[in-house]
């Protein structure tokens, strides 16, 4: 089935078996191997990408459903040699060991910071009607969909604090 969307600003037009997930289309058809397949069942967050600015798990989304969407992957974040501020913060804080979860962590962070800036509450938000303050507890809760098997969580938290202008 013919499907067109943009990936990192570039038009892509693919003839897809409807079974292809967005993750497989990115990795196997467009050779963008940055997004990772950890569990393939929505349980780890390694496949997180941004679709029209929102973070989703690309492993549970069929590629044919993304007609016309603007998809951003880890490969699309840097401007030439200049890293995205979230990438920069992950480097500065050594926020990874093996790096497998990192593309998902970074894309998720970008989506999460936008959600917080838009005033979305989380489960740990004390007052649902007040402005959001991104405390460490808030960051942990909002990032719970991204697992890190190397358990680099303290550094990931620090990187996000920096990227979010909170430290």
């Amino acid at each position: 089935m013919k499907t067109s969307f943009t990936v990192n600003g570039q038009a892509a037009s693919l003839d897809l078996d409807p079974r292809t997930t967005l993750l497989d289309a990115l990795r196997e058809r467009l050779d963008l191997k940055g997004s990772k397949k950890g569990c393939d069942h929505g349980q780890c967050g390694a496949c997180t990408v941004l679709v029209n600015g929102q973070r989703i798990n690309s492993c549970l989304s069929l590629a044919v459903t993304h007609e016309g969407d603007a998809i951003t992957t880890i490969e699309g974040l840097a401007q030439d040699e200049t890293l995205h501020p979230v990438q920069q913060a992950f480097l500065a804080h050594d926020a990874f060991q093996c790096g497998y979860c990192t593309p998902g962590q970074i894309c998720s962070t970008i989506g999460m910071l936008k959600e917080a800036a838009d005033g979305w509450a989380s489960l740990v938000t004390e007052d649902l009607t007040a402005d959001v303050v991104l405390t460490d507890e808030e960051i942990r809760e909002r990032m719970s969909g991204n697992l890190c098997r190397c358990s680099a969580y303290p550094q990931i938290l620090a990187a996000i604090r920096t990227a979010g202008g909170l430290a």
Partner: protein, 317 residues
């Protein structure tokens, strides 16, 4: 995944016609449950009718002072809505306690209600499961799984419904609006939308084949406070092992039955002046733990009493 064909109709009427006409056709919303189960070949649709872009994604005020949540509103969108946060905090809390930020961005109101159980034997296709293969037997009975029902289980199935959102919606007395065939509309109380397993655990709701959920309607918020609390095996990103929603005088329990469980005995006891602990004891009299899930008695007694104490439900009696 088994091969299937895919189609994205432009309007509700075409989507209804397609699913009614094509054997094995199913609606696809966010896909976070259906695609997952298709990968495991537990679900094997022949044709997917993508309803995610239908114009059913609005949150509107109703003339009665409630809210109508379009079926394709995302879980994130509902939880972020200022009206939901101010007037239906139990619903916002319930949604935010479920899944992850990424999943909630895709998951829809309709899909959330229709998500299937997380019973591990339902997922393990090498084990018998009456829900997956009617008549095959139930591996969970006598199995090593503990997150099972204490209310309303049957000899065919002891699974629980995993939705957090549906528990809050039950306490809030929400209604489900549907359409089918050439557009006939129905309204069902959420409280009686999901079914107990009986001897047909594969039939999970009152929805007919090819009937589409178009909206969930919230009545005006009840007087009194609201809360949703969820117990789970880790602090975030895990399904409930027990949960409680209180909205005014209405109480619903999660992860204790094949459906969101309205705690009518507790409500009645409160009305008659019982304390929170007494009200929960009254509710739990009807519980039938099976030796593996006995912990849920103590858990629900404490969680329920804590929630009722916080909201002060029944204090006005």
């Amino acid at each position: 995944m088994k091969p299937f064909t895919y189609e994205r109709p432009a309007d509700v009427a075409s989507a209804l016609t397609l699913v009614a006409k094509i054997p094995g056709a199913r609606f696809l919303a966010g896909g976070t449950n259906l695609v997952d189960l298709m990968k495991l070949q537990i679900e094997q649709p022949t044709h997917l009718v993508d309803v995610s872009r239908l114009p059913l994604a609005e949150i509107e005020d109703t003339p009665e002072g409630g809210l109508r949540l379009g079926a394709m509103t995302t879980n994130s969108q509902v939880a972020a809505d200022a009206r939901v946060r101010a007037r239906y905090p139990a619903l916002a809390q319930a949604i935010l306690s479920g899944a992850s930020g990424q999943l909630r961005n895709k998951a829809t109101t309709a899909g959330n209600l229709l998500q299937r159980t997380r019973c591990p034997y339902f997922y393990d296709t090498t084990k018998p499961c009456n829900k997956r293969a009617p008549g095959a037997g139930c591996a969970a009975i006598g199995g090593i799984h503990t997150n099972t029902a204490i209310f309303g289980a049957s000899e065919a199935c002891i699974a629980t419904h995993p939705s957090d959102m549906a528990v809050a919606l039950t306490a809030l007395d929400a209604r489900v609006e549907t359409k089918s065939g050439s557009g006939e509309a129905r309204v069902l109380a959420l409280e009686s939308f999901h079914r107990l397993p009986g001897d047909t655990p594969h039939i999970e709701t009152e929805l007919q084949p090819a009937e589409m959920i178009t909206a969930v309607v919230l009545p005006p918020p009840p007087a009194g406070r609201q809360i949703y609390r969820k117990a789970r095996e880790r602090a975030s990103y895990a399904f409930a092992i027990g949960s409680v929603a209180v909205a005014g005088d209405r109480v619903a329990l999660g992860a204790v039955a094949h459906k969101p469980w309205r705690a009518e005995a507790a409500e009645l006891a409160l009305e008659q002046g019982a304390s929170p602990a007494e009200a929960m004891a009254a509710e739990l009299e009807a519980a039938r733990p099976d030796g593996h899930n006995d912990f849920k008695l103590k858990l629900m007694a404490r969680l329920g009493a804590a929630c009722l104490t916080t909201t002060g439900a029944g204090d006005g009696q």
